[in-house]
Symmetry: C2
Subunit: 243 residues, 2 copies
């Protein structure tokens, strides 16, 4: 469904009901579908950005680098997620975004988005809501890193990704395809890749979840959620605030 030509308006529709005239207005957007290769740096940290993206296929991650060369991944983006929304609002991006797989995305120009706020006020609310959800996820990551053990962090992240993918029809309760490496998990969770490896082994030995060959498989989801004290409320995608 997300691959359809109007993925953009469809995405916005999940956040706010758009009228016929809203849609006409949005149709004036300069949008183009773009592809990126795995490893491509789609948005550069510290650089002015002229466009955001709506991911239609593939995975990306947003991250910040430290002077010592360490990396902190702030969030992963999966199909249906916006990408670089914050960058265009702040004008220069405070983070980088890298394609983790081959990617298909709609490019949306900053100028169009800002203009649309005056022409399609409901769209502002929709974008704002998307932005609020992003922030909620980052806040949950903060809790994850700040107050949970390595095992809980890994479990929580695997569950979050599963829940988010399920919302867009990828994977199911038993698992999902996952292109991340243990290094990615480490950079997202504030751990070393080596320790992530040990934790994954332990989770596997406990019969909770396996992370292997690009596939996450939940062996015992209930117990895993228990270990991670996972509550998917912060991912809520329903009940938009505007009619």
């Amino acid at each position: 469904m997300l691959k359809s030509q109007n993925a953009f308006t469809q995405k916005l529709s999940t956040y706010a009901v758009l009228s016929e005239s809203d849609l006409t207005n949005l149709a004036m957007f300069n949008r183009r579908s773009r592809r990126f290769q795995r490893g491509h740096e789609m948005i550069h940290e510290g650089q002015r950005t002229g466009s955001a993206f709506l991911l239609t296929d593939g995975w990306a991650c947003s991250y910040k680098m430290l002077p010592e060369g360490d990396r902190q991944i702030v969030d992963f983006q999966v199909p249906g997620d916006f990408l670089g929304l914050r960058s265009i609002l702040l004008q220069t991006s405070d983070h980088g975004v890298e394609a983790l797989t081959q990617i298909e995305a709609f490019e949306v120009l900053t100028t169009d988005i800002l203009d649309a706020f005056t022409r399609v006020p409901r769209m502002a609310a929709a974008v704002l809501w998307a932005s609020a959800r992003d922030e909620a996820m980052v806040a949950e990551h903060l809790v994850n890193i700040g107050r949970r053990t390595a095992e809980q962090r890994v479990a929580h992240m695997l569950l979050e990704l599963g829940a988010r993918l399920e919302l867009v029809g990828i994977g199911d309760t038993s698992g999902y395809p996952c292109p991340l490496t243990q290094y990615h998990l480490a950079d997202a969770l504030g751990l070393s890749a080596i320790h992530v490896n040990r934790v994954l082994r332990h989770l596997r030995e406990e019969g909770l979840v396996t992370f292997h060959k690009g596939q996450v498989i939940f062996e015992d989801r209930d117990r895993l959620e228990d270990v991670a004290s996972f509550d998917s409320a912060y991912l809520a995608q329903d009940r938009p605030p505007l009619r």
Copy 2:
């Protein structure tokens, strides 16, 4: 200045230029000034919220609780900051907000904010921008906790708060009044209060900064910024994206 009756419109003006008619529209808002006592829980986690606040005096913090009773402070709010903006967008708050001092704040009703998006489109952009800045700060906290040592974290937090307060005319380059306890710092930085204490002692002994009796004093700000690899770019409050 923030204590003036129109602190709300003044705040919005820092994000977008508002016309005369914009201001007339905003004047229709149901706003009222409210006071809260230290320790009061202004917004409850998991509860539907009908209003947000603009802090005009005092400090607050937004946080999330874990089932084990641990707390993760997501951000501190100082005068001039919005409070609960994300809560009203998501309808039910994913975090709690507590008054750390006696507080004065303008209450803004959710319905007014959402209505205003259609009547004053520029306001949507302004709110969105404020929200993006919030998210940028949370992301920086994530980096702080995820990839920096305890000493760097403490140094970074003290510098961030100083920079933010300076933007609203509180304190100066040499220091600022700070009502936080070491427990607050610990909960914000993912550390134990005891370790925060040791780190503060070390920073003091190194002649970098002192944290004592509600006062933060920078003894050697340059070296402190160096230790924390602090770069205030993410706090940028200038250059709003809309004329």
